[in-house]
């Protein structure tokens, strides 16, 4: 076994950067902290790639499966011999894959931010928060036990909160950051209960023990049944609730579109490529338990993912804020990943869905980060988020145009780009295991192509808007990451994922299934074609269609009134029927009781305070009479 202890540096470097730029950032010119952060991230990226190459190829014995190993572990809190909380570094196929995703996207976003955030107030603060996020995400990815994961899970939540609220003078950003924090925190409540139930039943937090096919979680399937599901199923459903909150799955998705209030690089890093896939990563991490001990929980994962992807894709077709379109697209694609994990079996070709979900996570990180960074470049040039203010930009921003087009083609599943391979694997897995979900996903594939090209044509083609000043191409610090990510989007699909990242660590044969691939490509092309007709030139069709769909269009335009439903449930129901009575009880019964005690004491004190008159002779008289009385009692009456 070779030594991977150096991987400890991967989370620790960003932590050091966070402390350094956060504490001393105001002492230098802002650009210095940016450069320090970017350099540090460069080192982290190198280390991550080195780890990946060593783990997957150099140290790998041909024909053997990939096993997980602990590069480092230390006891952090020791409660008793049975209950300890450890911190460590776990190396296995999915954590190494996530290292690549997080470090690549984070590094790209650092470079990009040097250009995008130039001259902003709080430049150093921005970079220190980025480092904090990278540290937390790395800690989450490398967690050796579920409790460590939970700690870093909350830390990414905090850094997401800080970065969404980066423009803290804007009320909308402040409320968006609060919304994101509260919604994910609510979901994390379920996660925590799930962790406690799971570890109560299995006596361990450790991932290696949990997911081992001979471990307690899988062999001693148990726990009292409740509502027809075993205890472990409930535990895993609750754990998935945490994952659904972080990954913006229906119905906990409402924070993600609002999170777009943050700076665009943040949206690319946190709300597209890394943090929001933490939920997928969590399910993948516990996949053997889900698959072998609680298939019912896995069905929940599949259906929530499938429904979310359809739901989000429909909304994405109607939104006009480009970042919101991308946010709903992200939600839809994460739904795909969840669904892939949900329909997967364990081991061999049955585990196709597991591989496909992780594969899509990987390729999605590349092209969605690219889309967001491209959107950032456009917003940088046009100073608006709204499609209505754009049009004809292809002449002004050639590099952004080309890279954005590549990303759109990738997400639409055009052959030979990375999205095609991963999406095709997901569809194949769904096709073999769950036909209704396959049909949903097939429709979503068409919708995806449609809304992405609606976005593309509205930005780069369509009517020529009169701009206040001519839009110009972004600076090199912003276009270079675009080009690198475009390269990744094209070629990431050629990685042999079916050999590297599989449910049981053993490689299996995967091939393109034409019965699935050809229709899915065709429906993608159909979506693109419809979008071309509708949006390439300014036409009346979109307006006519919108009126034609009438109520349904309005419904989707208002995001199916989910925010309103939440407001109704919280404000009208929970506030009125739970919070207010509880507050009344607190104010009148609990406080009232305390006030009563205080008032009784005050009254009686008022009655007897006259005894302390300040007159010495009165005291003396009482004293002497008392003495005499005692003498009489003790001598004559006792």
């Amino acid at each position: 076994m070779t030594d991977y202890t150096y991987t400890l540096l991967i989370p620790l470097i960003p932590l050091a950067l966070f402390l350094f730029t956060g504490l001393t950032g105001h002492k230098f010119k802002p650009v210095v902290s940016g450069l320090i952060g970017t350099t540090g991230l460069f080192v982290v990226t190198i280390l991550s790639y080195m780890t990946a190459i060593r783990y997957f190829w150099t140290d790998h014995v041909e024909g053997m499966g990939y096993t997980s190993l602990k590069a480092f572990e230390t006891t952090w809190i020791h409660f008793s011999d049975k209950l300890t909380v450890n911190l460590g570094v776990l190396i296995d196929p999915i954590s190494v894959m996530m290292l690549i995703v997080v470090s690549t996207v984070s590094f790209m976003v650092h470079i990009y931010s040097l250009g995008y955030m130039k001259g902003e107030v709080g430049f150093a603060r921005f970079f220190s928060f980025l480092s904090l996020f990278t540290f937390s995400m790395m800690g989450l990815v490398l967690a050796t036990n579920i409790f460590q994961m939970y700690i870093f899970w909350e830390l990414v939540g905090v850094s997401s909160f800080l970065l969404i609220g980066f423009y803290y003078t804007k009320p909308s950003a402040v409320s968006a950051s609060k919304k994101a924090f509260i919604v994910t925190r609510f979901a994390d409540l379920g996660f925590l209960i799930g962790i406690l139930m799971l570890s109560f039943m299995t006596d361990t937090f450790d991932f290696q023990t949990l997911v081992s096919p001979t471990g307690p979680a899988i062999t001693q399937v148990g726990g009292a049944a409740f509502l027809g599901l075993s205890g472990i199923t409930w535990a895993l459903i609750l754990v998935f609730m945490g994952g659904a909150g972080k990954s913006a799955m229906f119905p906990l998705h409402i924070w993600l579109p609002d999170a777009m209030e943050g700076p665009t690089p943040v949206s690319a890093l946190i709300h597209a490529a890394t943090m929001v896939v933490a939920g997928v990563y969590l399910v993948a991490r516990l996949f053997p338990v889900y698959s072998l001990a609680a298939p019912d929980a896995l069905h929940v994962v599949a259906w929530v993912g499938g429904f979310s992807s359809l739901f989000a894709a429909i909304i994405a077709c109607t939104q006009t804020d480009i970042k919101r379109v991308l946010a709903y697209s992200t939600m839809s694609q994460i739904g795909y990943m969840m669904l892939a994990l949900g329909v997967s079996g364990y081991g061999g070709h049955d585990g196709l869905g597991f591989m496909a979900g992780n594969f899509h996570l990987f390729t999605h990180a590349m092209f969605k980060a690219l889309l967001f960074l491209g959107a950032g470049a456009i917003i940088h040039a046009v100073h608006s988020n709204d499609m209505k203010d754009m049009g004809g930009l292809r002449k002004y921003m050639p590099i952004t145009h080309i890279t954005f087009l590549i990303a759109c083609l990738t997400i639409a599943g055009i052959p030979f780009l990375s999205g095609f391979f991963s999406k095709d694997e997901i569809l194949t897995a769904a096709f073999h295991h769950n036909m209704p979900l396959f049909i949903i996903e097939f429709a979503v594939a068409g919708l995806t192509a449609f809304y992405m090209f609606r976005l593309y044509f509205s930005i780069f083609w369509g009517k020529e808007t009169h701009y206040h000043h001519t839009p110009h191409e972004a600076p090199a610090t912003m276009t270079i990451p675009l080009l690198i990510l475009a390269f990744g989007s094209i070629f990431a699909g050629y990685l042999p994922f079916h050999e590297l990242v599989t449910s049981d660590g053993m490689p299996f044969e995967a091939h393109i299934e034409y019965a699935v691939a050809i229709p899915s490509v065709l429906i993608g092309l159909l979506g693109i074609a419809i979008a071309t007709i509708m949006y390439r030139k300014q036409t009346e069709i979109p307006q006519r269609l919108a009126t034609g769909f009438g109520y349904f269009y309005n419904w989707a335009y208002h995001k199916f009134y989910m925010d309103e439903v939440y407001l109704f449930v919280t404000k009208k129901i929970i506030f009125n029927y739970i919070s207010r009575p509880v507050a009344w009880f607190d104010r009148h019964i609990v406080d009232g009781f305390m006030n009563l005690i205080a008032r009784v004491i005050e009254r009686s004190a008022y009655l007897i305070k006259g005894f302390q008159s300040g007159r010495i002779q009165q005291y003396g008289f009482v004293f002497v009479s008392g003495t005499i009385a005692l003498v009489i009692i003790f001598i004559y009456l006792w």
Binding site: Q612, S613, G614, R615, Q617, V624
Partner: protein, 105 residues
């Protein structure tokens, strides 16, 4: 021991002195008079000490020693009390005990 004064006489005189002291302490308004009343009380106790010593343990001197200590303490107490009274006079322009009633609720 014949021809000596019986013990009861001493006790009667000391009781009279003691209650005169108490009465004075509780009724006089002048602080100096109250101080004098306290001296009466102390001295009645002294008489008791000496008398009991003489009649119960004629061979020992413990009662006398106690009396001497009480006299010494009473002298010190009188000095402190008069100092306090002077300060009260400076603050209240009076040594009437009724006027000194600020230490109350």
């Amino acid at each position: 021991m014949t021809g000596t004064i019986p013990l009861q006489y001493f006790l009667i005189i000391s009781t009279l002195m003691f209650f005169s002291g108490i009465f004075g302490f509780l009724t006089r308004k002048n602080l100096i008079t109250m101080l004098m009343s306290i001296e009466l009380i102390l001295n009645s106790v002294n008489i008791n000490f000496v008398a009991f010593n003489r009649y119960l343990y004629p061979d020992n001197l413990h009662g006398h020693f106690f009396t001497l200590i009480v006299i010494a303490v009473a002298a010190a107490e009188a000095a402190v009390a008069i100092a306090i009274i002077i300060n009260i006079y400076r603050n209240f322009r009076s040594i009437e005990v009724d006027k000194v009633d600020e230490m109350k609720f």
